[in-house]
């Protein structure tokens, strides 16, 4: 399971203030901390309060600070192609682009960009019409992304399809559809594309968020989830992932499997 730490995001107050004050300390703190908590990528997002014209410079700054503080690649998260490109240019190693949708005009921007920088790419199984309801419609949009990635020479191992997760209090019927979509996405190509999700969405404004998050994560792993953007501070979530890795025969069992999982 590839965990993408969600914390360096301008939606959080401390990161927003860090950006405003040009104070690198909170970014450094979260980069290190998420690294220690098993993150494989650091999601980096300027947040909506930064004006569009300033986003490229802020993204570049965030990527540099994060990579100085922790030996991890970044998942460059923005709806602004210029901000993403600025992040990619400043990035060391193999970055991840978060994200394109299945809209052709977006794929035409982000796919060549992913190919140019040899970056991984998250593709959302949705388009301008919104989030599809059924698993079949999600898989059809995922297929559009797969075909375009293939045409752009992006290897399937670098493509992460997100079946789209919605909060379970208001969009409860989407849960099982997203799980079924994961199963279908893994069968679209051979080798199969990878899968990811914005996990914490499942529990927006719900009670017992940690319980909901980790339950859905484990169910998703059983359906073929390879990666998730998640709260890696959540130790019970990490325990559950370690346990699921054992039960899916991805890690070899040992009595100290929780500790071993954290030491990698």
């Amino acid at each position: 399971m590839i965990l993408i730490g969600e914390r360096i995001n301008g939606m959080f107050k401390d990161i927003r203030e860090a950006i405003l004050n040009k104070d690198p300390e909170p970014v450094r703190y979260w980069a290190k901390r998420q690294y220690e908590n098993c993150a494989s990528y650091l999601d980096v997002n300027t947040g909506p309060t930064v004006e569009a014209k300033d986003q490229p410079a802020v993204m570049e700054w965030l990527v540099k600070i994060a990579q100085e503080a922790a030996p991890l690649p970044c998942c460059i998260d923005s709806t602004n192609p210029e901000a993403i490109e600025a992040g990619l240019a400043a990035h060391k190693g193999k970055a991840m682009i978060n994200s394109t949708s299945a809209d052709q005009w977006k794929m035409d921007i982000y796919m060549p960009m992913a190919a140019k920088y040899s970056a991984a790419l998250i593709g959302l199984a949705m388009n301008e019409k919104g989030v599809p309801k059924s698993a079949a419609d999600r898989a059809a949009l995922a297929m559009e992304i797969v075909v375009n990635a293939d045409a752009n020479g992006i290897p399937m191992e670098d493509l992460y399809i997100d079946p789209l997760v919605l909060p379970c209090n208001v969009a409860q019927e989407h849960g099982p559809e997203a799980l079924e979509a994961l199963r279908q996405i893994k069968m679209l190509a051979d080798p199969s594309p990878r899968t990811t999700m914005g996990l914490s969405n499942i529990s927006q404004r719900c009670n017992n968020r940690h319980l909901l998050n980790r339950t859905f994560l484990i169910m998703s792993m059983a359906c073929g989830l390879d990666s998730a953007i998640a709260d890696v501070e959540d130790q019970e979530l990490l325990d559950a992932v370690a346990a699921a890795n054992i039960m899916l025969n991805k890690d070899i069992y040992c009595d100290s499997f929780l500790k071993t999982f954290r030491q990698r």
Partner: protein, 445 residues
């Protein structure tokens, strides 16, 4: 695994004409991958695409049959890179070579030796599979004469090694009736060799000077309509053979059709130790057929054993034969141990009895090869079955006492077993490592 949506889509005409009833070609590909539509619903798909899509659902490594009758051997149908992923299906065929530079007497003597390379392993017989005849003289008549001697002296299928089409033609006139493997086709002679292979309906070795030439040549031979192939990348050094074998299997599993056939590997070292080690590498690393020159049983026994082990099914427990085993030379007052016929269990107990330095008898009860506690939980290691073993195997005639030692883990069986069998039941230690001290303290016949 069936075809994926992407594989199907790439072969479709991409007209989005809706004639298939789906809104787009992409949607049609998805429906096909899900098994909800058939390729015949698209009126515009090319014949080439149809064949490619049909071939993609065939097994990744074709099944190739060698020889005829009882000694026929099957190769291929492999589906994995590592045996623990599933299993290796068809054991490597072992061929021993003779050369047409040898005299007729020498050839028949060596073939007689090859015929005797039959070994008993765990109650089954295992042998070498082919006699290879090499056209080392370069002369067609000598080759045909050598093939005739081999053909007349063995029931084993033959492997005919010559790149000279005329020589091969003559040899096939002698031996063609038993479908010898033709070795083989090269870039220079493949048309004539393929014609011969088709005429005699037999397997053909395709030899390239490297992997890319091999792929080209294999495609050309397939295009001529012959599909019983064995692949030879031309490599002869062990490291290169290992790399090529790996590449051929790996690409075949990715459905690269030109490599979708079993392979042939040649052991070229003249040092007997080295040649056995090289052969061992080829058996473990995907060779369908392996050719070597030694007919010394001491060289072949370890290879036959390795082949047997590598090609066992890792998902099925390995069982030992359920019978009396004697450790040391036990007398009439030696202890009798009962265990199960799971090979790991048996060999643990046998090893510990041996190191206790007290000769004894071990009776592995047939539990379908599962361990003591698993057998107990599954109702396969019961007082009834142990009694049956004690009474049926003849142990009572070998010992003058009526005491049997059972594993400590199934102590609860002792009462019922004693009642049923009439033997006095001693409960041994839970672990067989405790047998030595158990015997010291408790055993007297």
């Amino acid at each position: 695994m069936g075809l994926t949506g992407l594989e199907i889509f790439k072969r479709l005409p991409k007209t989005n004409c809706k004639d298939c009833g789906q809104p787009t070609c992409l949607a049609f590909a998805m429906a096909m991958a899900a098994g909800k539509a058939g390729l015949d619903q698209c009126p515009h798909v090319s014949d080439e695409a149809k064949e490619a899509l049909g071939a993609a659902s065939a097994p990744p490594v074709a099944l190739v049959k060698i020889g005829t009758g009882e000694k026929q051997w099957e190769l291929g149908n492999e589906t994995v890179l590592f045996r623990h992923d599933k299993r290796f299906e068809h054991p490597t065929a072992i061929a021993i070579s003779v050369s047409d530079t040898m005299s007729a007497d020498e050839i028949s003597a060596k073939v007689a030796k090859i015929n005797k390379l039959v070994f008993d392993r765990v109650g089954q017989t295992h042998s070498v599979n082919l006699v290879a005849v090499e056209n080392a003289s370069g002369e067609a008549d000598k080759f045909a004469a050598a093939v005739k001697v081999a053909f007349d002296n063995t029931e084993l299928p033959l492997l005919l090694i010559s790149e000279d089409t005329a020589a091969m033609e003559k040899a096939l006139e002698v031996a063609g009736s038993k479908k010898p493997v033709i070795c083989g086709a090269t870039a220079a002679n493949y048309e004539a060799m393929t014609a011969l292979a088709k005429k005699y309906d037999t397997a053909l070795v395709v030899k390239g000077t490297n992997l890319s030439e091999l792929a080209d040549l294999s495609e050309k031979v397939i295009a001529l309509g012959h599909k019983q192939l064995l692949l030879d990348s031309g490599a002869r050094e062990v490291n290169k053979v290992l790399a090529d074998q790996t590449q051929i299997r790996r690409q075949a599993l990715k459905r690269f059709r030109p490599f979708g056939y079993p392979t042939i590997a040649f052991v070229t070292s003249t040092d007997p130790f080295q040649s056995v080690v090289d052969a061992g590498i080829y058996i473990t690393k995907y060779a369908g057929l392996m050719v070597m020159s030694s007919a010394d049983p001491a060289d072949i026994l370890p290879l036959v054993t390795l082949r047997l082990n590598i090609y066992t099914d890792p998902q099925k427990p390995i069982a030992v034969e359920s019978k009396i085993y004697e450790i040391g030379t036990p007398g009439a007052d030696a202890p009798v141990f009962v265990t199960t016929n799971f090979s790991l269990t048996y060999f643990c107990v046998a090893g510990d009895v041996e190191s206790a330095r007290v000769p004894g008898y071990i009776l592995p009860v047939d539990t379908d090869g599962i361990s003591v506690l698993t057998g107990w939980a599954a109702g396969k290691f019961t007082p009834e079955k142990i009694t049956e073993m004690l009474q049926g195997c003849g142990i009572a005639d070998k010992v003058n006492h009526r005491k049997v030692i059972i594993p400590g883990g199934v102590a609860v069986l002792s009462g019922k077993l004693q009642e049923l069998s009439g033997w006095e039941v001693l409960v041994g230690p839970r672990e067989s490592a405790g047998i030595a001290s158990f015997l010291k303290q408790r055993w007297s016949a």
